[in-house]
């Protein structure tokens, strides 16, 4: 997917992204040009020079429909919630999700008969997103459109949008300041600073860039894995085959079909009612051949619970990770359930938190169980004391331990 946007004094960028990316996250400081970029992509800026190739999964879409949701919901105040949705439906493309699904997914069933003036900020934002979705956009632009939602609701709506991007020929470009949200729900990320692009690429690499280039207080890593079938768990064997945790290669045209194939296989498995990745409310996730345990957050009614083989991202903050120099991952004497063998790739003694003398940030390369897989990065914040006591140094093989995560 390529786009090049140029709008005098406000934004200038030219980028090439993985065409299979469905969710494109954008972040950057206020006033950097994020909104201008979305406005230009939506066609609102007459002076902007915009060239885009969306690479939509369906080739027959000659003129993609682009929806934009602002931070302010901009619902038409002369109509009710229902009226706003009906207007969007009246001009909808064939690409729209069903009314029932959208109402449920955005959790606005109880708001339908309300006048716009009676909605709170978060309610308005959800209705605005529902209105955009019912219109059936091929490209949905969200300009901080979830900023007024509490964290649980935000995750449910984001999970719902993610699910729609799988079902429909729809991509979503979204601007947010919440890096954990972005890391979890974006396939690729753009970082915009000073009216230009300072980074474009895979979400986890964007994180690496941000962790290194800004004074981020809460450094976190993102592990990509896939949900595995509980039966596989008992045997401690490799995950089910065929599910790439990474996006298919851009140059590989079968990538899209591969994605469809995954969905189909999931459908078949859920059919017999036993294929859910949930085990007593816990989720087993395969990351590079290692099994991790997570607590499944309750999704919205419209969100399909994670199933066997679903790609999943785990966000782990540096403060959650402790380092064990005993490299036996199967240790069962402690309550911390997750263990990943890693190699220390870097130790930042001066840290990023300001209190340089007491803590250090350790970058860990997760060692894949099978060779040939690309390693993933994890961050651990340890005290200067531990650093000295354990004599941690670059290249050392250690085990990263962390408690059960919530996903």
């Amino acid at each position: 997917m390529e786009f090049s946007v140029s709008l005098e004094d406000r934004i200038k960028l030219d980028t090439h992204l993985n065409s299979n990316a469905k969710l494109i996250g954008i972040t950057g400081p206020s006033g950097a040009g994020k909104s201008s970029l979305l406005r230009a992509l939506a066609g609102f800026e007459r002076n902007a020079q915009v060239t885009v190739n969306w690479h939509l999964p369906q080739a027959n879409i000659s003129e993609p429909k682009i929806g934009l949701v602002f931070q302010q919901p901009m619902l038409f105040p002369h109509l009710t919630v229902k009226g706003n949705l009906a207007l969007a439906q009246q001009y909808a493309s064939a690409n729209a999700a069903s009314y029932a699904q959208v109402i449920k997914g955005c959790e606005i069933t109880h708001l339908l008969d309300k006048p716009i003036q009676a909605l709170s900020g978060g309610e308005g934002q959800r209705v605005a997103i529902a209105r955009a979705l019912l219109n059936g956009p091929n490209v949905l632009l969200l300009d901080e459109s979830l900023s007024a939602l509490d964290i649980g609701l935000r995750h449910r709506v984001l999970a719902f949008i993610t699910q729609l991007t799988m079902q429909l020929p729809m991509k979503c470009i979204w601007v947010s300041h919440d890096l954990q949200d972005l890391a979890r729900y974006s396939d690729v990320m753009l970082i915009i600073e000073d009216q230009g692009l300072s980074y474009a690429g895979a979400a986890q690499d964007a994180l690496y860039y941000l962790n290194n280039n800004s004074s981020q207080e809460h450094v976190f890593g993102v592990l990509q894995g896939c949900v595995i079938f509980p039966k596989e768990l008992d045997r401690h064997s490799a995950p089910i085959s065929g599910v790439p945790p990474h996006l298919p290669d851009d140059n590989n045209d079968v990538g899209v079909q591969e994605g469809v194939g995954v969905q189909e296989s999931v459908g078949v498995q859920t059919g017999d009612g036993t294929a859910s990745g949930l085990l007593d409310g816990y989720l087993c996730v395969d990351v590079l051949g290692h099994t991790l345990y997570a607590e499944a957050a309750r999704g919205g009614d419209a969100v399909v619970p994670p199933a066997n083989g679903d790609a999943i991202k785990l966000v782990i903050t540096a403060n959650e990770v402790s380092i064990d120099t005993a490299t036996n991952t199967a240790a069962t004497t402690m309550s911390i359930v997750n263990a990943l063998p890693c190699t220390i790739s870097e130790i930042k003694r001066d840290g990023l938190m300001g209190n340089a003398s007491t803590s250090a940030l350790v970058l860990l390369d997760v060692t894949p169980k099978e060779s040939g897989k690309q390693s993933q990065i994890l961050y651990a914040r340890v005290s200067q004391l531990s650093l000295t006591r354990l004599n941690l140094r670059k290249g050392m093989r250690v085990v990263a331990r962390f408690k059960m995560l919530r996903v």
Binding site: G43, M74, F76, Y91
Partner: protein, 233 residues
Amino acid sequence: MTEALTPQAWQAIWLTLKLALITSLLLMVVATPLAWVLSNWQHKTKPFVLSILALPLVLPPTVLGFYLLVAFSPQSTLGGAWVSITGHPLAFSFEGLVLGSLIYSLPFALQPLYSGFTQLDRRYLEVAQTLGLTSFQRFFKVVLPLCKAPAIVAFGLSFAHTVGEFGVVLMIGGNIPGETQVLSIALYEQVEALQYQDAHALSLCLLIFSFLLLTGLYRFSGKGALGWNLASR
């Protein structure tokens, strides 16, 4: 009450209301698209155009009336064309009064609409555009419903202003009962004829009417839709 006003005064009242209603209805048809076009138009000649349209606000009505009288004469292009189409001259006719009132009250319809349109958050239109509404659909389904308040104010003001018209009517309409004799002219005639009791009754009617209309408009518009200067005349 009926006895307090002469039959001629009643005739003048009905004629005035008819004139005001026709004028303000026509003005809404003319001024709404005009105000919309102006609010979206950016050009260095814009102040020039806006000045021309606002001229009736500041010009003495007699000046406007004089130019209209000249334009309405059968020797002029407009007046001549009117005679050849309808068979009677435009000056000193009810149609002439309507045309004169349209020009005279245009700024009063234009101003509230123009400021309503310019104050409308453009993002409503951008949302409507992304939803797939054409510019016509955006205007009728979004702009007009959102600008209902300024539209009603525009209608009310042009109606009230036409009721209060005097100088222009005097110049182009004269004083023909049932045809061009409006309230203000009838009142003027009563004072000239020293019929002070009749003049009192008519003045009071006009005063109460104007007061009620404005109260209604202010109550309706509530927060500042009449923010511009009403007392320009």
